[in-house]
């Protein structure tokens, strides 16, 4: 008897909770609903993207749900999220896919249902024609190339002085080997660096963990442009990879291709690895740690995307596409910043924590 009473009271409380939620949750059917599915929340970058998209939603008077998996390797979680969002019949979806292959059936389903899909940040690379209405993204290869140009200027003399018998090395530290944005940056930097070196008549080779872009004969080159990928995207593995890089002989420069790689490098230095005074470090993105490193001179400078613009433009494109307007790709831009210019207003506004 006592038991039945207790069960009854539990049920009562539950019903009340249900009704409470029901009362406040479902009354907004009228506003236009958009889904924004990011790659994760791990980086401050995504938080700024979220701010941008929320700003756009406020400006345009639409309802959005900004979501993403717990990490950038959680493909299954992201696919489940896309499925769940499709079931909510949004007006349009903005998507930064962790992997194109894993979302192909979902893209097809969106197309069948007439839900436009907008790519943002890295978007959905190599998606079937017509299934992505437009992209709001940084051109990663160009952005990284900008970094290569700045680094080359600083190490030009050392490179000219190198020879096959006393070679030098430039390392690209990369957090993972799957995300198109990270691989694009590594590729963009490596190829730009290679082009600049060979244009000045020096011999060079690209080696390392991306088989697709290795080139040249490292044994007969004065400069080795090497790509290093962490064992896993975890900060601990990135730190280990960075320690290994810093122990390399004749190291001229390091390019960290995203904030994960930057944090790994900074953690390795904090843990006791020595960063030679002559080694030039170029970062990518703009977290608090990275900004301090640039301001303090540990990094010669960094490339920043405009995450706010990415988030803002993504929602803007989504709303346009949903309303049947013609949309096309938007470049959200990239900028070089270093200790000398980072407090200038046009740069500082891009450096969100």
């Amino acid at each position: 008897m006592k038991k039945a009473k207790r069960l009854l009271s539990v049920l009562l409380v539950l019903t009340m909770v249900v009704m409470l939620f029901a009362g406040c949750g479902t009354k907004e059917e009228e506003t236009e609903y958009y889904s924004v599915i990011a790659k994760g929340f791990q980086h401050q970058f995504w938080q700024v993207v979220k701010k941008g998209s929320e700003q756009a939603a406020a400006d345009l008077g639409v309802e959005i749900f900004f979501t993403g998996p717990e990490g950038e390797s959680a493909i299954a979680t992201q696919v489940d999220m896309i499925n769940a969002e499709l079931a909510k019949n949004p007006k349009a979806i903005a998507l930064a896919a962790l992997s194109t292959e894993s979302v192909l059936s979902q893209l097809q389903e969106a197309a069948d249902k007439g839900i436009p899909v907008i790519g943002f940040d890295s978007g959905v690379p190599n998606a079937p024609a017509g299934q992505i209405s437009a992209n709001a993204s940084t051109d990663n290869e160009n952005a990284a190339g900008l970094g290569a140009e700045h680094m080359y200027e600083a190490i030009k003399a050392d490179i000219a002085a190198a020879s096959v018998s006393s070679p030098v090395i430039v390392v690209i530290l990369s957090q993972d080997a799957t995300s198109a944005s990270v691989t694009g940056r590594s590729k963009g930097f490596a190829e730009k660096m290679y082009a600049l070196i060979t244009a000045d008549g020096q011999s060079a080779a690209i080696t390392g963990d991306f088989a697709a872009i290795t080139t040249g004969d490292v044994a007969n080159s004065a400069v080795n442009v090497k790509i290093v990928v962490g064992a896993t995207p975890d900060i601990t593995d990135m730190t280990n990879a960075a320690s290994g890089v810093l122990n390399t002989d004749n190291l001229l420069g390091v390019f960290c291709s995203n904030e994960g790689a930057v944090n790994g490098l900074l953690a390795a230095v904090n843990a006791g690895s020595t960063l030679g005074a002559d080694v030039k470090v170029v970062g990518f993105d703009a977290g608090a740690g990275q900004k301090a490193a640039v301001r303090g001179g540990t990094f010669m400078g960094s490339i920043t995307q405009d995450p706010f613009a990415i988030g803002y433009k993504a929602v803007e494109l989504a709303v346009k596409a949903a309303n049947g307007e013609a949309v096309s790709d938007v470049d959200t831009g990239a900028k070089w910043y270093d200790a000398s210019n980072m407090d200038e207003p046009d740069i500082a506004q891009l450096l969100y924590d």
Partner: protein, 327 residues
């Protein structure tokens, strides 16, 4: 006898009741939660955890645990993907190898636990790490992807995930696997001995039964579940990334525990496990339909697990008191 029946009925009723309550909650609060699309999603996102959890129920009933589930599933999928993409094996052969590989690792777990007398927690923790590493080694730390709908082998998705019209075929396989495992656990010697071992291993040994054989069998059955799960996972998510998958075993174990299977062994039900799997799946989809971010899912799953175990403890206490009143 009547009392036993009542007890079993009560247990199922409670887990099922929780499922209904959670479903009704989201039906009120979620966006389009009761739609066919969401229902299909609930089924679809339960595929692989379902296979893992059904298999794991066997090991957990013996009083053991298998921490290698998630890592093994990924290693098996990576192996299949590597054979398919890099070696050009036909897809059907890759699938067969995936299942055999997982069963083999299950057997290895079984041998470690029975013949070599390692505690299951340690043995499978070791296997988990080995599998994480192995997955990276065989793929050279690159992700592998299974045929997409745009490729000739795209039937894979239609046969194992969803048909073009959206019918969740995977759920059919899950039900078939459930029925088969249900029969094995409840109607055959394997199941009888697995229950008996979980309750009193020494007594089973003294009854002249080959404890190692049947206990090892539980790990192989778990391996079978993992192997089949890896096929369904691959068809659902296409891309498999090295060094992922740990954490999935905890979802599977949570589903088993929610379903009323005792971690100390001897007590358990596959029907409960299936209900546990769907509770987790409903939570997953329901929280998204309420537009709550991913971390809430982990948070609420934790609450459900604790609630389920509390309910179990409370129920056992009451049952004992009832027994005394009757006696």
């Amino acid at each position: 006898m009547l009392q036993t029946l009542k007890k079993v009925g009560m247990q199922k009723f409670l887990a099922f009741g929780a499922l209904i309550i959670i479903y009704v909650f989201f039906a009120f609060t979620g966006k389009n939660f009761t739609s066919t699309a969401t229902t299909l999603n609930i089924l679809a996102s339960s595929y692989y955890v379902g296979f893992l959890a059904l298999g794991a129920t066997f090991v957990i009933i013996t009083g053991g645990i298998d921490l290698s589930l998630g890592a093994l599933m990924m290693a098996s999928a990576l192996l299949g993907g590597a054979l398919y993409r890099d070696m050009g094996f036909p897809l059907w052969l890759c699938m067969v190898i995936m299942v055999l590989f997982a069963m083999l690792v299950g057997l290895a777990n079984g041998i470690l636990v029975t013949k070599l007398k390692l505690p299951p927690f340690i043995a499978t923790l070791g296997t988990m790490m080995i599998m994480l590493g192995l997955g990276s080694i065989i793929t050279n730390t690159s992700s592998k992807y299974f045929p997409t709908i745009l490729e000739p082998d795209g039937w894979f998705i239609r046969v194992f995930f969803k048909t073009k019209s959206g019918f969740p075929v995977g759920a059919v396989y899950l039900m078939v696997f459930f029925i088969i495992t249900f029969i094995v656990l409840n109607k055959t010697k394997i199941g009888r001995y697995i229950f008996a071992i979980g309750n009193n291993e020494e007594a089973v040994r003294l009854s002249g039964i080959k404890v190692n054989l049947w206990k090892g069998m539980a790990y192989v059955i778990t391996g079978l579940g993992v192997g089949l799960g890896s096929i369904l996972y691959s068809a659902t998510y296409i891309v498999v990334i090295p060094n992922t998958g740990n954490g999935i075993e905890l979802q599977a174990i949570a589903a088993v525990v929610i379903g009323g299977t005792s971690l100390s062994g001897g007590v358990g039900s596959l029907t409960g496990t299936l209900i546990g799997v769907f509770i987790m799946s409903i939570l997953k989809n329901g929280l998204i339909s309420m537009s709550l971010p991913a971390p809430y899912q982990t948070f609420f799953t934790g609450i459900v697990v604790i609630g389920a175990v509390l309910m179990d403890v409370y129920r056992n206490k009451k049952a004992n008191e009832l027994k005394k009143i009757k006696a």
